[in-house]
């Protein structure tokens, strides 16, 4: 469950939503929407993989058809781990530049140059504006050099908890297992092993890394820092998750780490989705698809039926052997005394009936001649009389 908040600047984009929802407020796994209109939701981190889900369908093999319920596959990508700490001797700073005069000095835009350096090199910095002072500005310095990816926060008073936080991001080629629930529209990604490096040039990692810095550059407005606001909301998520009334430094560090990881995951995934949707550049990996299907019956019941049929068959076999029915098949049928007609006629024959059909009866249960005899109960209803039919034809 996430905090519902209505701040206009908080609703500017999915990427920033991802930052503000990077951490869970309770014991549940954080969820965030895939950055497209397919309606899928990642349960846990996306790690930038699974970006083709919903955009292209799995190909069933050997003419198999069906409705896909869920599927899973392995995809190589990068596991980005961000570790942060406060650096009280941070060398990032605001350099004040020109002030634009306004009538009465209201909302006078003050220019600033955010610049400085991180432990792995000098940051280019960028100019920005703020009203009166730098209180509502946040800059995220991003320096990629010496084979290290480092971030540094430079923030005004409104985002003081973010100021002087420095982070290092590490990209490890990793193989992920991606599980997709098609009907529930959810995706879960699990790192399983070291994977192939999908881009040895590291352009994907570089672009994703710098994307976060560019967001701070473009989303620090004269009045607020949209990126800073997103991180503040995630800090609040961590505070609530840890059941504290006020966030401590470790809460802030955790929230920033998880926020940056989610942001980088989304940048990686966004590039993957663009490859699929814009250039249709895909390759196929083997996976497993679970289809909606049906089967006939239930195995235990089918087995019980087979057993019952077999037992009846064995009983029949035993009966055939003991009664010698094999030999009788090609002979005249035995009279069936459990047949009502046969029983009556055989009793009449045994009692010495004078009726011709009874005398001539050979024991055949479906004999049509004796079948036409009429039956009448005596007046005291204790005896039956057999009579030859007076009407022929029935």
């Amino acid at each position: 469950m996430h905090l519902l908040i209505f701040v206009p600047s908080a609703r500017t984009g999915l990427l920033l939503n991802a930052v503000s929802q990077a951490s869970s407020r309770d014991s549940s796994i954080p969820q965030h929407q895939k950055l497209d209109a397919t309606g899928f939701t990642y349960h846990g981190r996306s790690y930038g993989v699974g970006s083709a889900v919903g955009l292209v369908q799995p190909q069933l093999l050997n003419g198999t058809v069906g409705t896909i319920r869920n599927y899973s596959f392995f995809e190589d990508g990068y596991e980005c781990q961000v570790s942060c700490q406060y650096n009280k001797t941070s060398q990032l700073s605001w350099i004040k530049s020109d002030l634009v005069q306004t009538p009465g000095g209201i909302y006078a835009p003050q220019g600033y140059w955010a610049n400085g350096s991180l432990p792995n090199g000098v940051w280019d910095g960028f100019p920005t504006w703020a009203v009166v002072n730098e209180g509502f500005a946040t800059a995220l310095a991003a320096v990629n050099s010496q084979s290290r990816y480092m971030y540094g926060f430079l923030a005004g008073n409104a985002y003081a908890v973010l100021n002087q936080i420095q982070c290092e991001a590490r990209f490890s080629p990793t193989r992920f297992k991606v599980e997709v629930g098609v009907s529930a529209k959810n995706i879960s990604v699990i790192p399983v092993a070291t994977g192939l490096d999908i881009d040895p040039s590291r352009a994907l990692a570089n672009i994703s890394f710098h994307g976060a810095g560019y967001l701070s550059q473009t989303l620090t407005t004269l009045y607020t820092s949209v990126l800073g606001d997103s991180f503040l909301r995630n800090i609040d998520n961590v505070r609530v998750h840890n059941n504290r009334t006020q966030a401590i430094d470790q809460d802030v560090i955790n929230a920033v780490e998880e926020g940056l990881e989610t942001l980088i995951d989304d940048f990686l995934g966004s590039t993957g989705a663009a490859q699929v949707a814009l250039l249709q550049e895909t390759r196929s990996t083997q996976g497993f698809v679970v289809l909606e299907a049906y089967r006939i019956g239930n195995f235990p019941i089918a087995t019980t039926t087979l057993s019952l049929v077999a037992i009846i068959g064995l009983a029949a076999l035993g009966n055939f052997i003991t009664l010698g029915l094999w030999h009788k098949i090609s002979s005249r049928p035995d009279p069936d005394f459990l047949d009502f007609k046969t029983a009556i006629v055989s009793i009449a024959k045994g009692a010495g009936s004078a009726l011709n059909p009874v005398n001539n009866w050979k024991g055949d249960s479906d004999d049509r001649i004796v079948g036409k005899l009429e039956v009448k109960a005596t007046e005291n209803v204790l005896a039956l009389k057999l009579m030859e039919s007076s009407v022929h034809g029935l």
């Binding site: 984009g13 990427l15 069906g66 599927y71 560019y214 679970v290 068959g313 009788k328």
Partner: protein, 202 residues
Amino acid sequence: MPVMYWKPVWVIVCVASSLAISGFITWLSTAKRFSNVNHVQLIKQYRTYISIIVQVISTVLSIGQTYVVGSLVAFSTNARLTSNRKLPTLDTLKLRQAMVSKSPIWERQTKMISMISIGWLLALQLPAALWAGSITPVLTEAQYEALIPIPYYSQSTAAYWATKCAPAEPCDQLLGGISDMGTFSYVAWKSKLVSIPQACTC
């Protein structure tokens, strides 16, 4: 037409065909899964009608057992009547006739016979119930291997995915566009502010 005692022949036919059908259905229930979309939809939509059809078929299939059992009772009764062993009483014949004709005896004087006939009648319902359980289609899942498309980053398209676009740099070719499936761009920091362009209901 040659003289033949058909009842034993029908018993053999019933036993053989029941064994064959039951064996086939047992194999189906373990080995086979069907994923045809239309069939699955049919099963989902017409459960009531399917249960009626299953009931009719299972009743027909159960005749294979009830006929055989009734015939075996008749064979043994007739054989006993012609043997020199202990002769059956009329009550025994009445019970056996009730068993063969599948009609219960409701008489206070012969409680045991009544109970046996009722128990027998209930037991004869078992084959139909078992057949119904054996042939009812059950919705389930089936797993198959498949080819799953994932993004590929080839050198021929590196001009898109491997090109960095910083703020205030022209990179229109990387901006991508909007489709029914969402907004796609190689410049995510610039293009993922999707609320406004997707607000249009046109």
